[in-house]
């Protein structure tokens, strides 16, 4: 008789246990119980979210590929595969290894699709740096990403980082990876062909990461988070680098039917999901699994989340050729099982059956239709009368304070620890609106960005999520790319609490509405629930990773001002929108009001106008106007390029109160610059696309001078902006 404390320790509830007994018609073995616990965990099974995830648009203006573990788009016969995934709880418990294995895991999802990883991005969220533990987390996470990504030779080209109290006790580490291959080289994560072999390849199996997806990722943090450290995996980037090369080599042989990373839930997940995806059964004997520890029990082998391992379905008779390639790279490759026609997963240990169940029972976890409710406190939080907000007497010092807050300040301290140039494709380096990559031998280029303002999502999840998509798209457009498709990483609190689930539901709906409007499909993604500490839930954070396509890589644009005498334009309009703004938070210490409005039709017109202007070569710089408003955006245009900082004289006619004019975060605005000769062209293009346009100044000198409001030297701005992390 199995005692409740046994299955509860695995993260299963009474109803789950009952369901397992009903499925099997008998008492489960401990190995079976362990396998169900990980496959049915929220992290692997998407029990609470599946109903909503189905609603994401899977088609858009580019042809899409949606696979088992990742997805992508097709551009000129090239598949661009990309996905974002969370590694939040492991990073909170053990920042360096948690972040490192997050990078390793997402990169495996890319190359198991047959694509060579060409770039990574990271979206990070921490509590305020005034708390030493948050500083420890930041340093550890950055170190982990550098440790793993640099060794692999996959450049970390971009990302974002925000600081907010809600992440104290539960940081977010979302890792995104992009890979490319020829369309016909894409492989699936499925087992097929009766009699074909199932091979275990890569690193050996240890006791690390047992319960990572169930006990660690699918539960709230309590005070005893230290005790969960053994559930974090340990990364070995050198082995992964060899695994990338060996895997791409075996895929080129044509002998591989399907391949899957052993990530969350390890062997359990890879065997059951490969069998389910292929509509077959699999029988394995785990006696052959290479181990790094003695005396491991079958359930430990099945649950282990040891890194750098994969499961491969190989055509019968071709096992030797596959093994030889792995031997060349000094990696394990062992036949552990066969494909059969049973629809059953059978796990043996030295010939003795230790688990046997239908694949569908493992891969179809119980689904929930969870209740949601708008939090009562929102009405109060949404109230904001800016007449009660006192305008700062000294706008210069307000601007300096804003640009030196960690969310806005220059992030070179972080991205210079990442190799962002290896593979020699990075044509726009980190620090601009989006990273731009060339594809050798192709005229087209790829731009990538990640974005989410979670404060907006907290104040209004639907609009906040729309803005996350709109801003990601706008960042791409500012680099010269056409927004093409989306991956997302949905970070929320405990879904079983209706006020938390309200945020999830509305954010998903916001993403759907924006993606449909932009015709950008959601090709892959990940959900991370239970991001809560004893202090409460994190701000709802639906991180958007977005890929854009440049028709011609030579059309790429950077965000900083270029030449003396160039004209500066503001595209779009500024409204009295300081709700949820960085200004309100940093200068007035308040998180209140409603996020700015976003008009998706207008946003699309802005994109169309920008892309037409960039294509005709008349734009010299473009910078999205976002956190910190016009003041911050224009300041950044002056100082981003450290080798050639340049001033600007701005004169804006406005009836808005000065602080609101400078720091409002109204959407659909871009600061661009162009040569004198193109002024009329810009104006007529804006008119053609019905975009409000204002020529607001001239580039030149060594001061940021906004008439009547701001007068600061670019050196002062640069010093404040560049030293926040040092």
């Amino acid at each position: 008789m199995i005692k409740p404390e046994i299955y509860k320790a695995l993260g299963l509830e009474d109803v789950d246990y009952q369901r397992i007994e009903n499925i099997l018609g008998r008492e489960p073995t401990y190995t079976e119980l362990a396998m169900y616990s990980v496959e049915w965990s929220e992290h692997c099974g998407y029990s609470s979210s599946k109903k909503y995830l189905k609603l994401f648009p899977q088609t858009g203006k580019y042809e899409t590929l949606v696979g088992e573990d990742s997805g992508g788009i097709i551009v000129d016969d090239i598949a661009i595969i990309f996905k974002m995934e969370s590694h939040n709880h492991p990073s909170q418990v053990e920042p360096k290894q948690g972040a490192a294995t997050g990078v390793g895991g997402i990169i495996r999802d890319i190359f198991t699709a047959g694509a060579r990883p060409i770039a990574s991005l990271n979206s990070l969220r921490f509590g305020p740096l005034s708390d030493p533990y948050n500083r420890y987390l930041l340093v550890g996470v950055v170190d982990g990403i550098a440790f793993y990504g640099n060794c692999l030779g996959v450049p970390t080209v971009g990302g974002e980082i925000y600081f907010d109290e809600s992440y104290s006790g539960n940081c977010l580490v979302n890792a995104m990876s992009i890979g490319i291959c020829k369309r016909k080289e894409v492989v699936r994560a499925r087992a097929q062909g009766i009699g074909n072999s199932i091979m275990y390849v890569g690193s050996s199996t240890g006791r690390d990461g047992i319960g990572g997806c169930s006990v660690l990722a699918s539960a709230e943090f309590c005070d005893a988070e230290e005790e969960k450290r053994p559930t974090v995996q340990i990364g070995d980037p050198f082995t992964e680098k060899c695994l990338i090369e060996a895997t791409l080599e075996i895929l080129a042989t044509g002998h591989v039917v399907g391949i899957k990373d052993m990530g969350a839930a390890g062997l359990t997940c890879s065997t059951s999901e490969m069998a389910a995806a292929g509509g077959v059964g699999i029988e394995i004997d785990i006696a052959g699994v290479p181990r790094r520890e003695e005396g491991m029990q079958p359930y430990e082998v099945m649950m282990s989340e040891s890194q750098e391992r994969m499961l491969v379905c190989v055509k019968a008779g071709k096992e030797k050729e596959i093994t030889e390639i792995f031997e060349k790279w000094d990696l394990n490759a062992v036949v552990i099982g066969k494909v059969n026609d049973s629809n059953v997963v059978t796990v043996k240990d030295n010939g003795k059956i230790v688990a046997e169940m239908t694949t569908s029972s493992l891969t179809n976890p119980p689904l929930f239709d969870l209740p949601y409710k708008r939090p009562d406190y929102l009405d109060e939080v949404n109230k904001l009368d800016f007449n009660n907000i006192q305008a700062p007497k000294d706008l210069n010092s307000a601007l300096l304070k804003l640009i030196s807050c960690p969310t806005i300040a220059n992030k070179a301290w972080i991205y210079e620890q990442y190799d962002h140039m290896v593979q020699t494709n990075t044509c726009v380096l980190p620090g601009s609106d989006a990273a731009v990559l060339r594809v050798k031998g192709m005229k087209k280029g790829i731009a990538a960005v990640s974005d989410c303002n979670s404060r907006y999502c907290f104040l209004d999840p639907f609009i906040g999520a729309q803005i996350a998509v709109a801003e990601a798209a706008r960042n791409l457009v500012c680099s010269g790319a056409d927004p093409a498709a989306v991956t997302d990483c949905l970070n929320f609190g405990n879904p079983k609490k209706p006020d938390r689930f309200y945020y999830f539901k509305n954010c998903v709906e916001g993403i759907i509405s924006a993606c449909k409007s932009f015709q950008t499909a959601v090709v892959s993604g990940n959900v991370s629930f239970y991001n809560e500490s004893p202090k409460g839930a994190i701000n709802p954070t639906p991180t958007i990773g977005m890929i854009g396509i440049l028709e011609d890589i030579s059309h790429r644009i950077t965000s900083y001002f270029k030449d003396e005498g160039d004209a500066v334009f503001l595209l779009g309009e500024t409204f009295e929108e300081i709700g949820g703004s960085e200004y309100l938070k940093v200068i007035h210490g308040a998180v209140k009001g409603l996020p700015p409005k976003v008009d998706l039709e207008k946003e699309k017109r802005l994109h169309a106008m920008m892309l037409e202007a960039i294509k005709s070569g008349i734009i010299k710089s473009a910078h999205d106007c976002s956190e910190g408003g016009l003041g911050t955006t224009i300041a950044e245009c002056c100082i981003i390029n450290q080798d050639k900082m340049i001033g600007v004289e701005i004169n804006i006619n406005s009836i808005l109160r000065p602080d609101i004019l400078l720091f409002s975060e109204s959407q659909s605005r871009i600061i661009i610059s162009c040569g004198q000769k193109d002024i009329q062209n810009i104006i007529s293009l804006a008119k053609k696309h019905n975009i409000p346009v204002n020529e607001i100044g001239r580039v030149g000198g060594s001061r940021l001078a906004i008439k009547g409001l701001i007068d600061l030297s670019v050196d002062d701005l640069s010093k404040n902006w560049r030293t926040a992390f040092k």
Binding site: N150, D236, Q423, T424
Partner: protein, 223 residues
């Protein structure tokens, strides 16, 4: 004229070097697997950057025991041109082809950014296409680039004109005497921390690394 790019497990700039040789300066080039016990016919060997053997133990310390290194050493000793970039430089130090050692960067972090270098000696097979004293922009990307050598060794380097590149303006990693690249006494083996293969095309923001490859081609052509 044929270039060879040595590939260790964990090399990750091998294909970048291959690309520059093959597609930018358009010369024949081949990969050479580290387990090879015999070297084919090459005129210049590139030991590329990366994390050979994961940089475990010490950067380059394991790679130097790969079978191919015996061949590389023989090739160098018989006057063949060898260039080690970043991890390749570290391997050449471990293999004894170049003097000195690498310490961790002064700030204890990995650093990836463009730096300025001063070309100190143009009288080598690797630098004839530069002007002496020229300031060039080439990126670095390493954790252990803080070059060190004892006083006597440093004097030797200086006396024999073996210091080829020095960091200019800012010393990013604490390297002794601002050393970014050196050659052996015979001037046929170059080791440098900055990555010329990352700055040989306009799209990448600098072509200042290209003269190194062009110098090699010119030198081999005259030979």
């Amino acid at each position: 004229m044929k270039f060879g790019v040595v590939v260790f497990p964990g090399s990750n700039c091998d294909s970048d070097c291959y690309h520059v040789i093959s597609d930018v300066i358009k010369q024949p080039v081949e990969y050479i697997w580290h387990k090879n016990k015999k070297l084919g016919n090459y005129d210049c060997l590139i030991v590329p950057g990366g994390f050979s053997y994961g940089d475990y133990l010490r950067c380059g310390a394991i790679a130097r025991f790969s079978p191919i290194m015996k061949e590389v050493i023989d090739f160098a000793n018989s006057g063949g041109l060898v260039i080690g970039i970043c991890n390749g430089f570290q391997i050449l130090l471990e293999a004894g082809l170049l003097p000195g050692a690498m310490l961790r960067n002064k700030n204890l972090h990995f650093i990836c950014r463009f730096v300025k270098l001063k070309v100190e000696n143009t009288n080598t097979p690797f630098t004839s296409k530069y002007d002496r004293g020229q300031i060039v922009r080439i990126p670095i990307a390493h954790n252990e680039g803080n070059y060190f050598i004892d006083d006597e060794g440093l004097k030797e380097l200086q006396k024999n004109d073996q210091i080829i590149f020095r960091y200019h303006g800012e010393n990013p990693n604490g390297a002794l005497d601002n050393i970014a690249g050196i050659v052996n006494k015979k001037h046929n083996v170059l080791g440098m921390m900055p990555h010329p293969e990352r700055s040989s095309e306009k799209e990448l923001g600098s072509e200042d690394g290209l003269p190194i490859f062009k110098s090699i081609v010119a030198w081999l052509g005259e030979k």
